[in-house]
């Protein structure tokens, strides 16, 4: 966890303002060799995923006896592997873990986002004694690796009788998200012109109505970017899930289920391939639909945890 990277947002904007010049330059510079190199690297980068994707549609026997590249000379397509990971085969039911992941993710995004927005507002637009010290403290705790907190936190949850429930994951993920969220939203809020706030105050608006009526509408892109980042971070998390939900299947998210499957049935490639794609369908969809926000959020928080 360290600071946000506000720099890309600025450079992205600078870049879009010059689209035309860049376009002309690009036309001049387009070289076939560059294109060829790009194609080679992108193929290299895509093959691993592609191989597993193809495998997930091949019959179990074939996956285990022949390479996935033989698919093109002997194409047999089946959905059996996907049926298996949805419960047809004993012990594996990705549907349950999929639900768990959603149940874990939604509060783990909404709670820190709302709390951080309030806190960021206080830091950005209200004067109070101790403000700078407190802000610096929150900025500083960003660097604490979550590993340092896990065991004592687990003991606390056991004392509170929360172990093995979703509450452990909601509380842990929300807490870990706060420092970065506050810092990011604070930076964003500082850019709102002070005259806007002053005008609202003169009109007699209090901090509650300024927060809802002036700040929140302006804040939507920042909230979206951080919300998406946090959603994917929680969805893709293994460590927190392993520590707090590792005991049983009841609250385990899909990443943990996949990791366990890989650990216990490391050669069951018909299950692993289908399972892997069930687990990545959500992040990839989010990525494809919300690429712009996604990239911005990811750059802002890429060093979290």
């Amino acid at each position: 966890m360290t600071t946000a990277v506000p720099l890309p947002a600025a450079t992205v904007e600078a870049a879009t303002s010059k689209v035309k010049a860049a376009e002309i330059a690009k036309k001049k510079l387009s070289s076939p060799w560059a294109s060829l190199a790009v194609i080679i690297i992108s193929v290299l980068w895509t093959i691993p995923t592609f191989g597993l994707l193809v495998s997930s549609f091949r019959p179990e026997r074939q996956i285990k006896t022949t390479g996935w590249w033989t698919f093109f000379s002997d194409p047999t397509v089946t959905l059996d592997n996907y049926r298996s990971v949805f419960g047809a085969e004993g012990g594996v039911n990705m549907a349950k873990f999929f639900v768990n992941s959603l149940v874990i993710c939604i509060p783990s995004v909404l709670i820190p986002l709302s709390l951080a927005a309030l806190a960021a507002y206080a830091f950005a637009w209200i004067n109070f004694p101790g403000k700078n010290v407190l802000f610096l403290a929150i900025f500083a705790v960003q660097i604490v690796p979550i590993q340092v907190t896990l065991l004592p936190l687990l003991k606390l949850f056991v004392d509170w009788d929360l172990s093995g429930t979703f509450w452990t994951l909601w509380l842990a993920h929300s807490t870990f998200a706060l420092p970065l969220a506050i810092y990011l939203l604070h930076n964003f809020m500082r850019e709102v012109p002070a005259s806007l706030i002053e005008a609202a105050r003169v009109d007699g608006a209090g901090h509650v109505s300024i927060f809802f009526h002036v700040m929140l509408p302006l804040l939507t892109p920042a909230l979206a970017a951080f919300g998406i980042f946090q959603f994917l971070w929680v969805w893709n998390d293994l460590l927190v899930a392993l520590v707090f939900a590792g005991g049983g299947d009841e609250v385990a998210p899909i990443t943990l289920a996949l990791a366990n499957l890989s650990g216990t049935r490391g050669t069951a490639w018909h299950l692993l391939s289908a399972g892997a794609f069930v687990s990545i369908v959500v992040p990839v969809t989010v990525f494809l639909l919300l690429q712009r926000y996604f990239v911005r959020g990811l750059m802002a928080g890429s060093v979290k945890g």
């Binding site: 360290t2 990277v5 720099l7 890309p8 450079t11 870049a15 860049a22 330059a25 510079l29 560059a34 294109s35 790009v38 690297i41 980068w45 995923t49 191989g51 597993l52 996956i63 390479g67 996935w68 639900v99 509060p107 909404l110 709670i111 309030l118 507002y121 004067n127 109070f128 705790v141 660097i143 590993q147 340092v148 907190t149 896990l150 065991l151 004592p152 936190l153 429930t165 979703f166 509450w167 706060l178 209090g206 901090h207 509650v208 893709n236 293994l238 460590l239 590792g246 990443t255 990791a259 890989s262 687990s279 990545i280 992040p283 990839v284 990525f287 990811l298 890429s302 060093v303 945890g305």
Partner: protein, 327 residues
Amino acid sequence: VFNTASTTPEKILQMFAALLLFAAVMGVILFFAGRLGGRRGDKWVAYLYLLPVVLMLAVGLVYPGLRTIYESFFDAAGKAFIGFDNYKTIFTDNDQLTVLRNTVFWVVFTPFVATIIGLLYAILVDRSRFESFAKALIFLPMSISFVAASVIWKFMYEYRPDQGRVQQIGLINQIIVWLGGKPQQLLIESPLNTFLLIVVLIWIQAGFAMTVLSAAIKAIPDDIVEAARLDGVTAWTMFRRITVPSVRPTIVVVLTTIGIGTLKVFDIVRTMTGGQFNTSVVANEFYSQTFRADNQGLGAALAVLLFILVIPIVVYNVRSLRQSEAR
């Protein structure tokens, strides 16, 4: 509401109950904040807004952090005070030294290789016609979980014994066979296996490096590029004299950012080898010692070590971030 939910409707109900409870807490805070009128009430509004956050960070981050530092000076059961012995173990025990060596490999190779590939790709793609599509392909691994990425690569490295008509199903071993070699148990041979795990993280992080650097490259003023072009410089000179110096602060930010993430790498090691065959790293060893080997003290010391290692990189990261913003 606070019990373990086991059926799907129960889970969803519990989620809504939790959200409702949270909304109620927010409602109370906002209600009281709304009653505090006038500028004299300002500071109390601020304290109200900050109350839940400060509470959560104090209980969930600061207290556990201090507690772990304290516990790193105790023995496996957390009972007897043993001073710096856990730290001594980390720097003298053979297994732990392997862990440190592997961590050094990870931190040295991942950021540099990922950044170099990302930078080259960003420059090349900047000149191609299918820029956004090509970028999406490289960036995609960044969106999936480390666990899924590990499963994907474990399949690449899969090994089948070299006997009779047994065919390889992992692409890497098949390529070795095509080239006339013998298939290898890739994930078992140390230290080769550590580098094969590093490849997975490079595969993930190159997309991050590429995206950030691409934005920086596009921000290089056109007149500089144009002037150099009119002077007739070669592509290599352009790269060395214009591109790299212009994006240097961003390169440092990318390197340090990936470096911090690499230090904490855990999912890949755990999923691919479980830390066996001499592949463990500090973050994985922390998990194994704390939660598997029941050696609380050593686990705590490893967590603290991770913390200490992160600090200088973060400081450097923040400083270069300031620099690149100031430009």
